[in-house]
Structures are given as C-alpha cells and as structure tokens.
Symmetry: C2
Subunit: 116 residues, 2 copies
DNA sequence: ATTTTATACAACTTTTAGTTGTATATGTCA
DNA sequence: TGACATATACAACTAAAAGTTGTATAAAAT
C-alpha cells in the first residue's frame, strides 16, 4: 500500500532528475507548490490519476512508465540513469578507454570548469 | 482535467460490468462503501494510484487498461462489451445463423426462464 | 561575503475522499 | 398480491489528507 507511494515517488524523482528539472520547476509545470512535489517524491502524499497524468506530461514520458511490470520494475529500480542516448553511450565508451587515473582527473577538472 | 475522471470512471464501470460484479461487490473487494464506488464511476471523486491498483486487482485486469493510448482508447470507448471469450464468440456465431424471428424469440424466452 | 538555487520539514488551512442515511426501480418468492 | 432482496442514485455530514505558507540548511553562483 505505502510501497506504491514510495515507488511512484522515487520514479517521479528519477524521471525529473533525468530531465534536469528542479522540484520548483516541476511544481510550476503541474501547478502546485514545490513542497507538494516533495511530498509526492517522499511518499508523504498520495497522487491522484489526474496529477500523475499532469506529471507524466510535464516530464514528457508515457504514464505507463509509472506502472512497470515485474521485469521492467527491476530495470527501473536498478538503472538509476535510465536509458542512455547514443551520444551518452559513446561518451562512456570513450571514457572507459582511459586507463591513466591522472588523465581521468584532468578530464573532470575540465568538465568542472565548463559553465554555460 | 475532469475528462480524465470521467474516462477512468466509465472504464471502471465497464470492466466491472464485464466481470458481472455489482457496485457493492467491487466496494467490498477494495474496502470502501459502494457509494464511494459510485463516485469513482461518475467522476465525482478522484482516484488515487493506490485505489486504482486496488481496483485493477479486484477486477483482475492490468492497470495499463485504464490508460489506453489513442488507438486503444477508441476501442475501449467503442466496444462496450470488450473482448469476447471463445465461448461467447461461438454463441454469437450460432445465434446469427438463426433466420426466423420466432425462433429467436423462443430462444430468449428460454434464456429468460433460466434461474440459477 | 552575500545572493541565488535546490531541497527539507513543521504547522496550518482547505479541500475532498469516504461515510451514513434515505429514495427509487427491478426482480424474487411465498 | 405484497413483503423481501438486490442494485443503483444522491444529499448531507465527518474525517482525513492534499495543498499552502513559513522557516531552515547546504551548496553553488556572482
């Protein structure tokens, strides 16, 4: 019973973060306070069908992703980064070729320096 | 906004009737008053995720059927009897072979006479 | 340093889910 | 026939929870 709340909440949070949207951002998109979004994510407040549809639309994902089947559930739960785009896969592939620790560190220093 | 409520409500009613369950029956299965089930069906009360999962379980259908895609929606909306079992298809097939009106009427009188 | 951004949580208010009570229609069975 | 059961509908009330506002903290940005 409460499990569902927590699962849905965790998924909302995950999908939101994947899209790079803040609680405030999502809150504005669906028309509630960001504190209310916190309650959705933490499972302290239950979510109506309408709200879930609002959220799915705001995050641009099909509602069905909030109701993963057994098999899909495992995937949703265990792959915190979700599906990777081709670009991201390439990034990982290239990054994993780097053997030298210092080279990796240097890369991160560069990445951390980027502001846009 | 309210449209969703009404759609979900109509689907609950349809699925319930397809299973031959009364409002009271469903109410008991999900642990609310039958009057509350009425509100769900009429769209006067919104439904939480948990409740919808309860209902889906009680009616023994996957939740996904409450969120039909565009194409499926048309089907759900326009086929009030839902999918037919093989037995029911056969029944229809045999019934449609009957040409004589009086024979049909006689059949219905028989059916109406059955009490179990 | 201080201002902005993101998140967290407690306390309060308002909305509404859910209940109870009553009414109507249909079918059952003495 | 009429009493009895079943199925649905709707209004009025209560209890519960959705949703708000206010305050606190940490980490980035300027």
């Amino acid at each position: 019973m409460k499990d569902h709340r927590n699962l849905i909440g965790r998924l909302i949070r995950r999908f939101r973060l994947q899209k790079g949207i803040s609680q405030m951002g999502l809150a504005e998109l669906i028309g509630v306070s960001y504190q209310q979004v916190q309650k959705y994510e933490s499972g302290k407040s239950s979510i109506s069908i309408e709200r879930l549809l609002d959220i799915a639309e705001a995050l641009d994902i099909p509602v069905s992703r909030f109701f993963p089947s057994e098999k899909e559930l495992l995937y949703e739960e265990e792959s915190p980064y979700g599906e990777l785009t081709e670009e991201e896969k390439k990034l990982l592939e290239l990054f994993r070729r780097i053997k030298d620790r210092n080279t990796k560190k240097a890369l991160f220093r560069i990445l951390e320096g980027i502001k846009d």
